[in-house]
Symmetry: C2
Subunit: 322 residues, 2 copies
């Protein structure tokens, strides 16, 4: 996988404009102002480097999530690949609907249907084996609209932001409702964020000795859902301190932004609003969540809202800036 | 709290002997050889810096665990402080035994008794409040034999080892059966390991809005036990990649060492054997675990075993080397 500008290149920063894919204006300015405040020694809002924790949602915040969440596309491809060995799936409502391409039936099944799909496609193998499966898929699957690997359908302005924060002493974490072991396979190459800085949903794993070798087996049982009220719980569990900056794009990120914002000192919250129907997608609701509550709270609390159409002159690394 | 040599001082390393509290011999040599191999560019066993993950058990590995695990001492002190508000505890077998100082009765109650004690002393408050309680205790409590804060009853040779690994590009993690939120309060100051690099046992926390402010409340329900077969699970969950070095002192660390050792490339496993009844304690079993299985496997697999009496010329930072 390739991205035209790597985090490392950006972090060096010399001779480059600051956050070049962000148009000048209040949105970009709010980011730069925050970073300047917390990094200026002597400023009353100065934050020591080890406490500069920034958390990023993934789906819709760092990469696109249309026409469906990318991990959902993985699950469907996986289901199709496994189907010949599982004739019994024809009698399972959700699985049969997916195999028949009837996505409306799946959406109607809600969270229960999604969990059923995840369990049959994500469990029943060793963790190492699952990583290989994801790696192979991410290398070969293509986004249906852009005909590019999903790992290129990522937001160039957010890559620049990740690198900018890193260059200013921040430690950046992904905190996503997506599967932690699905993300860890590619997140380091694509975002420059190491696996230990990825927090996500998970299924139960079990340690066993198989023929004298230790194995972690993935079981069809939910361990943790890192979404909505689960996000502050996941942050507390994994990171163990409160972030000073949080970035999201839906109501599923609301509690993470609330948790980040409600503390002493300088805090920063940002929501990406998908307003560009031409270059990306324009929407305020997905089968899994909406944005209206978070948008209202952003206004009340003074969080930054990115108007994608207005604020970003470039969406994806593979595009030219407009 | 003070330690005579801070990790930072050691990491600079100039003009200092290498691992000065370790006596010269095969134990110390095995550490230095391993680090030399994985850090030498061009060596077939070279490991790139981001994959240099080292995991350390805490109780009995980084600090002492006698005459009882230090977190158990915290629980007892906390129980005594709360008892006046809980007359009903007189009718609870385990709690009444603890309050009466009858530790044998508690030990006889096994894991069930310990969990009961943990729940009434560690749950029922916000996470921030719990941190403050631990902070106050750690600042005032004294180890009964050494009459020093528990955070000084730590192993000087292991501090040097942590700093040595860090100076060689390793990322060091605590992976302990102890409570993750109990440890995070003091681990950074004492070991130079940040909260996000601490993996431990946990109880369930719940996100709620109380009077408009977000709170994480600690519930009396076990979330995860990071011991025995739980350690590889915790490592996979938090770190997301396999360590190349693991350090423990009991059968509770066996699976962590197995998981670390059973992979390609250069791997290092070490067990601390408590053999010094004069300067520390000599034992091979505690109420919570033994060491015999791990010791046998160490011999079979070629893991390093520290003979504390022979290999360490200094145990604690507050002592002179012998």
């Amino acid at each position: 996988m390739t991205t035209s500008i790597s985090p490392t290149m950006l972090a060096s920063g010399e001779g480059q404009a600051l956050l070049p894919s962000w148009n000048d204006g209040p949105t970009k300015q709010s980011i730069v102002d925050f970073v300047s405040r917390v990094t200026a020694t002597g400023d009353p809002q100065f934050v020591k480097p080890e406490a500069r924790i920034a958390v990023f949602d993934n789906d819709g915040t760092l990469w696109s999530e249309q026409p469906m969440m990318f991990q959902f596309a993985f699950a469907i491809d996986r289901l199709k690949a496994l189907a010949p060995q599982h004739p019994e799936w024809k009698d399972k409502k959700t699985l049969a609907a997916v195999l028949a391409g009837d996505m409306k039936a799946v959406a109607a099944g809600g969270e229960h249907a999604i969990i059923e799909l995840v369990m049959v496609t994500h469990a029943g193998m060793a963790t190492d084996e699952f990583s290989t499966i994801v790696e192979d898929w991410i290398a070969s699957a293509r986004h249906p609209r852009f005909n590019r690997p999903y790992t290129e359908v990522i937001f160039q302005p957010m890559l620049e932001l990740l690198a900018y924060l890193k260059a200013n002493g921040f430690k950046t974490f992904v905190v996503s409702g997506g599967g932690v072991e699905f993300m860890r396979v590619w997140v380091e190459k694509v975002y420059g964020i190491p696996p230990e800085q990825v927090v996500g949903s998970s299924i139960v794993t079990k340690f066993e000795m198989l023929e004298g070798a230790p194995v972690l087996t993935r079981l069809p049982q939910v361990n943790f859902i890192d979404d909505n009220a689960g996000k502050p719980v996941g942050i507390n569990m994994h990171i163990g301190r409160r972030p000073i900056a949080a970035f999201g794009n839906s109501d599923g990120d609301l509690q993470m932004l609330q948790w980040t914002a409600a503390s002493t000192g300088s805090r920063f919250g940002l929501l990406v609003h998908h307003t560009d129907s031409v270059r990306e997608y324009a929407y305020e609701a997905t089968p899994l969540g909406k944005l209206d509550v978070a948008l209202k709270e952003a206004e009340a609390k003074g969080w930054t809202v990115v108007d994608m159409k207005q604020d970003w002159n470039r969406i994806y690394p593979f595009e030219e800036s407009k």
